[in-house]
Amino acid sequence: MNSIKFPVLDRTTTNSVISTTLNDLSNWTRLSSLWPLLYGTSCCFIEFASLIGSRFDFDRYGLVPRSSPRQADLILTAGTVTMKMAPSLVRLYEQMPEPKYVIAMGACTITGGMFSTDSYSTVRGVDKLIPVDVYLPGCPPKPEAVIDAITKLRKKIAREIYKDRIKPQQGNRCFTTNHKFFIVRSPHTGNYDQELLYPPSSTSEISTETFFKYKSPVSSHELVN
């Protein structure tokens, strides 16, 4: 076989038959058992919850709701994400193991929805926080629409090539830095109240040093997840 005959698009995949089928196998397993995280905030979650029940039954697609993000593959960000909820959402997303997908469900998570004009607390679009695979509009979207979004996500997964996915980062998941604060001794170092209000300066120095010795190996790489 002459390799020039193949179109350019096919060259992105591997030529080997075996690796292609392995790729297909992994794609098929991922698309047919997408376990969603049991997460949701507002009225969108009511619609999402009805999918678990017998009328819309997303177990047909192999979806089993998991409560622990460690076992989830998919997060449907159902409902408004407020500034206060945002860190928790990002943390939940970061806690999920690597082949993970996001469906932004509802207008609030796509643009901020009806809160997009004059709200002081709403995040305008969840894609500012986490990468979104499928946008699912509606306020709230019907369960059938959710099933449609899941079907679209399944199609997307089926076309995926394993090498194209970003390799799971070992080590740090969240952006963490050591804090830049440094302890400044109080400007009020007059002799008048040193013995009354503040502890003697020598002991305070020791205590901060030991504190940093304890803290420094931990905070650099382990305070994650």
Binding site: T29, S33, D57, R70, P99
Partner: protein, 360 residues
């Protein structure tokens, strides 16, 4: 001199032959183990699929539909996906304990399959202490759960591990007492002997009729040992996120998943062996096995089929129980174990012992 050399040669060749035979023997040891493990894995996949389809049926849903015909491949897809998923370790947990925990849970359950007779003397190891081996080894599993709960560095995991240990220990005792009364009836701890002691009068010879109380207690406590739904406190979703499995992802979680279904399968198999006459075709006056006594393979196949049919009946009962009964509270669970099941199983043991003493 020449004779001596030839003698040495023959001895050498004999030794070689012997060593070759030993190697073959070693290989032949692994063949039945391989087939047993293959069968068990297939059984687990079938149970996972059955559980999802039966629970869907009970809730008037459809259940897995698109993975293979009727969703048969759903369990396979789940397993392979878990194999390909990223493996996370909790940052400040105890990594050795975290990694060893699931494997201990699986291995301890898998080992006890070696004493299960699937058909007429189709058993991996017909030990004299078969039942004792099962009870001894199955009490290692909570140590694995405790290790994984502790190693996860998570409050929910730790609580789940503690609950699993408490539950397993408290329900092990009534279970053991029921098994003890069974072994008193058949004067043996070997599983083959127990099945053969029930083989006489068709299904009237089952231990179920001689030990009705013990049967019910065994059923309840084996459900509790499996941590199935009326007793699934260790992984109660609403209280502890997933119990000791909370921090597990990827194939380690898959191992826990497999371990729970392995446990369910072996409990049902033991119910079959201890109370329902094992591989015997249990209709009185028609012993189909004797008709096919000459045809060994057919008889063995029929035996396996009968064992599995009885086993899957109990699997169905436990799956239906899962979607019927609500979960107990922790104190209710312990009260049921210590204040109800333990005295009754003790009384059952006393009755059995005295009957055996006076009749003999």
């Amino acid at each position: 001199m020449i004779i001596y050399a030839t003698a040495v040669q023959t001895i050498n060749s004999f030794v070689k032959l012997e060593s070759l035979k030993e190697v073959y023997g070693l290989i032949w040891i692994f063949v039945p183990i391989f087939f047993l493990v293959l069968g068990i894995i297939t059984g687990v996949l079938v149970i996972v699929w059955l559980e999802r389809e039966i629970s869907a049926g009970i809730q008037q849903r459809i259940g897995p539909e698109y993975a293979g015909p009727l969703g048969i491949l759903q369990a396979l897809a789940d397993g392979i996906k878990l194999l390909f998923k990223e493996n996370l370790r909790p940052s400040r947990g105890n990594t050795p304990l975290f990694s060893i925990g699931p494997s201990i849970a699986v291995i301890s359950i898998l080992l006890s399959y070696s004493v299960i007779p699937f058909s007429n003397h189709l058993i991996l190891a017909d030990l004299n202490i078969g039942l004792f081996l099962w009870i001894a080894i199955s009490s290692i599993a909570p140590i694995g759960l405790l290790m994984s709960g502790y190693g996860s560095n998570n409050k929910y995991s730790f609580l789940g591990g503690l609950r699993a240990a408490a539950q397993s220990i408290s329900y092990e005792i009534p279970l053991t007492l029921c098994v003890l009364s069974i072994s008193l009836l058949s004067n043996s701890l070997s599983t083959v002997d127990i099945v053969e002691a029930q083989s006489k009068y068709g299904f009237w010879g089952w231990n179920l009729w001689r030990q009705p109380i013990g049967f019910i207690i065994f059923l309840i406590s084996s459900l509790a040992e499996c941590e199935r739904l009326p007793f699934d406190l260790p992984e109660a979703e609403e209280e502890l996120i997933a119990g000791y499995q909370t921090e597990y992802s990827g194939i380690k979680f898959g191992l826990f998943y497999v371990a729970s279904y392995l446990n369910l399968l072996i409990s049902s198999l033991f119910v079959t062996v201890l109370y329902l006459g094992g591989w015997n075709f249990s209709i009185p006056y028609i012993s189909i096995l004797e008709l096919f006594q000459r045809d060994q393979i057919f008889g063995t196949t029929i035996g396996i089929f009968i064992t599995l049919a009885k086993t899957y009946l109990f699997l169905f009962i436990s799956i239906a129980t899962r979607w019927t009964l609500p979960r107990l509270r922790m104190d209710q669970l312990l009260n049921l174990g210590w204040k109800f099941l333990l005295p009754i199983s003790l009384g059952n043991l006393l009755l059995t012992t005295s009957f055996q003493l006076f009749s003999l």
